[in-house]
């Protein structure tokens, strides 16, 4: 309900609404971008571009549909553009860390969680981009495989295959690397 009101206010010109949308979804999109691109500064640039374009689109923005899905789709498209443009290798930024959100605050668990997250990110980065995208979108967003298939413009069974094969590789990588 809040999103519906935010969309309406955004279209009508409310800066406050846009600020609230940013506050609500910036970190979610950053996490997605980071998982897709495995580079903090590129992820920040992509989120920057997505929100700036979104801000510029207020005149064309359609009120129907989910705001979160819309922003997620914009982010995925932009991330793909970046991947294509840079033809970047799957590497990691040394000063970048990604965290596990843990319900408990035990410092040891937090450290273990952080390490797992970094290794997961490394493992994700080694997957083919389409597999990585399918896994990230399916696990970290509310998107169904059908919606991901529409986004990737491939049949649903292709997405299922990408997801399954990617996850299998990740599990193998974890079984091999993550020993605590």
């Amino acid at each position: 309900m809040e999103d519906e009101l935010l969309k309406l206010r955004f279209v009508l010109g409310s800066t406050a609404a846009l600020a609230r949308i940013y506050q609500k979804y910036a970190n979610t999109l950053l996490t997605l971008a980071m998982a897709l691109l495995n580079d903090a500064s590129t992820a920040e640039d992509v989120v920057h571009d997505v929100f700036v374009r979104f801000a510029q689109s207020s005149g064309r923005f359609r009120l129907g549909g989910s705001l979160k899905s819309y922003l997620t789709t914009c982010l995925v498209n932009r991330a793909r553009d970046v991947i294509r443009q840079q033809n970047r290798r799957a590497g990691s930024c040394l000063d970048t860390t990604i965290e596990i959100q843990s319900p408990d605050s035990d410092p040891i668990e937090t450290i273990i969680g952080d390490e797992l997250a970094n290794q997961a990110n490394e493992a994700l980065a080694r997957l083919p981009y389409e597999q990585r995208e399918a896994i990230i979108l399916y696990i970290k967003t509310d998107m169904s495989l059908k919606q991901i298939a529409e986004l990737q413009e491939v049949p649903m069974r292709t997405v299922q295959g990408r997801y399954r094969r990617g996850l299998e590789k990740l599990r193998k990588a974890f079984a091999k690397e993550v020993r605590l």
């Binding site: 009101l5 309406l8 206010r9 009508l12 010109g13 409310s14 800066t15 406050a16 609404a17 846009l18 600020a19 940013y22 506050q23 910036a26 970190n27 950053l30 996490t31 971008a33 980071m34 998982a35 903090a40 992820a43 920040e44 989120v47 920057h48 929100f51 700036v52 979104f54 801000a55 510029q56 689109s57 207020s58 005149g59 990604i98 965290e99 596990i100 959100q101 843990s102 969680g113 797992l116 997250a117 997961a120 990110n121 994700l124 896994i135 990230i136 696990i139 970290k140 996850l167 990740l170 599990r171 193998k172 974890f174 079984a175 993550v178 020993r179 605590l180």
Partner: protein, 463 residues
């Protein structure tokens, strides 16, 4: 232990957050893009409307009116609130000034605050009769304190250094609340709703912000339409001593005037002396006292040695009509306030007891001369009374001859002159000396004017 079965769970819980600076940068770019887009769209829409000719014009006009009315109603309902980010744009922007009042217990001080750009600020304040400016550059972590009354400058770091130069410790503290305002970030606020302030509707925001020393409750009121700040209140409670509370109030914002960058320079102004730098031997004094100066120095020393009669006699023997040249001592007659402040603290600590002691001697000598003069009046020995009263007057004038002398010495000189002149006025009335009486009354006016100029802080620099 391996975690292959937890792979999905690990990915689900992966979380990434950018720093608040990154968020602030992106958010500002987004809001700016949005505002530009809205402006250009309204211009474009206007142009298109003018060019469009429709066949069913009446229906379309009616439809447009209905849509506009509904739109305006929704807009008025939903969109007359400004965002906190817009208020921060003003507060964290470049070049503005405001009145800052700080209240601690039952005392309060008001000063003018000026921001040249984030990190560079200046506060002009008055402590008692003296004017001070504190210029801070948080980038270099430096504060330059200017005593505008005495034209003394000092780079200061502690409240004690502020107070040693005569400034208030509140002036020392006032950069902190401003830095807190610079550190505020959008999304941390709680909206307080609207209220009328200065005839305009203001929207309130509340933020809790903790710095190294204080827990701060910051309340900002901004014009509900423009976002321009109207009033800011910061209640700072000391973390180490929760009973200690400071209330900072910022109002009378001037966001439009251009501020001169030279006012924020961290260089010591050319006509200012840098405080706490010199040794006593670095100060130039005359090499030799003349004969009358020696008599005066001698009189002060004789008085200190409990040889009062000889001290008085030595003073009565001084020729006050000619300029008197002193060498180094006594410092009460040779040193300026600026020179005193320019000395290192250790040197000042050595000199101050002697200066205070000499002030007491001047006072005692003056009272003794007046006592003798009054005795003379009682025996109608007016000439003797006049000589003794005039000696106090001349001595006072000597003490006051340098307008840059040590401040407390100047006040002692004024007191000596006033004491003698009041007595002389009485004497000349009794003695029936109308010309001298008029002259004395004029001098009383001059002394009063000088006293007022001194206590009003008339001796001030431009900067």
């Amino acid at each position: 232990m391996t975690h292959p079965e937890k792979t999905e769970e690990i990915i689900r819980r992966m979380h990434f957050e950018a720093s608040e600076q990154i968020h602030a940068r992106i958010r500002n770019d987004v809001l700016t893009a949005y505002q530009k887009s809205r402006r250009s769209r309204s211009v474009l829409a206007h142009g298109l409307r003018r060019r469009t000719v429709m066949s069913r014009r009446l229906i379309q006009v009616a439809f447009t009116i209905v849509v506009l009315v509904i739109g305006l109603m929704i807009f008025a309902h939903l969109n007359n609130d400004i965002a906190f980010a817009e208020v921060l744009n003003y507060i964290q922007a470049q070049g503005y000034s405001f009145d800052l009042t700080v209240q601690e217990d039952n005392t309060s001080e008001t000063m003018r605050g000026m921001i040249f750009q984030p990190g560079r600020m200046r506060f002009d304040a008055k402590t008692g009769v003296w004017s001070f400016s504190a210029i801070t550059d948080t980038g270099s972590n430096k504060t330059l304190l200017l005593s505008r009354h005495f034209k003394i400058a000092q780079y200061v770091k502690t409240a004690e250094e502020f107070e040693r130069l005569g400034a208030s410790k509140l002036l020392y503290l006032c950069s902190q609340p401003i830095q807190n305002l610079w550190n505020l970030r959008d999304g941390t606020e709680e909206e307080l709703g609207k209220r009328e302030l200065d005839g305009n509707t203001a929207l309130g925001f509340k933020v809790i912000h903790c710095d190294n020393n204080f827990d701060n409750v910051i309340t900002l009121w901004a014009n509900a339409r423009s976002g321009r700040p109207v009033s800011v209140e910061i209640i700072s409670t000391a973390l180490q001593a929760p009973g200690n509370r400071l209330v900072w109030t910022l109002n009378n914002f001037d966001l439009d005037s251009e501020l001169d960058e030279s006012m924020f320079s961290m260089e010591v102004p050319a006509d200012y002396a840098l405080a706490n730098q010199k040794n006593l031997e670095d100060i130039d004094f005359e090499e030799k006292s003349d004969e009358d100066a020696r008599k005066i120095v001698n009189a002060i020393q004789l008085w200190k040695d409990d040889r009062q009669n000889e001290a008085i006699k030595s003073l009565l023997d001084v020729n006050w009509e000619e300029p008197i040249m002193f060498a180094e001592e006594p410092y009460i007659l040779t040193m300026t306030e600026k020179e005193l402040a320019s000395l290192k603290k250790s040197e000042q600590d050595k000199l101050m007891p002697g200066i205070i002691d000499s002030c007491a001697v001047l006072r005692k000598i003056s009272f003794e001369l007046v006592r003798i003069a009054k005795e003379a009046v009682a025996t109608n020995d007016y000439a003797k009374a006049e000589l003794h009263f005039e000696t106090v007057l001349h001595f006072g004038e000597l003490v006051n001859r340098d307008p840059e002398a040590i401040y407390i010495i100047r006040l002692v000189g004024i007191a000596m002159r006033k004491l003698s002149l009041v007595q002389l006025e009485s004497l000349y009335e009794q003695w029936n000396q109308p010309d001298k009486l008029n002259s004395v009354r004029q001098k009383i006016q001059q002394v009063d004017a000088y006293h007022k100029s001194l206590t009003d802080g008339a001796v001030m620099g431009n900067r």
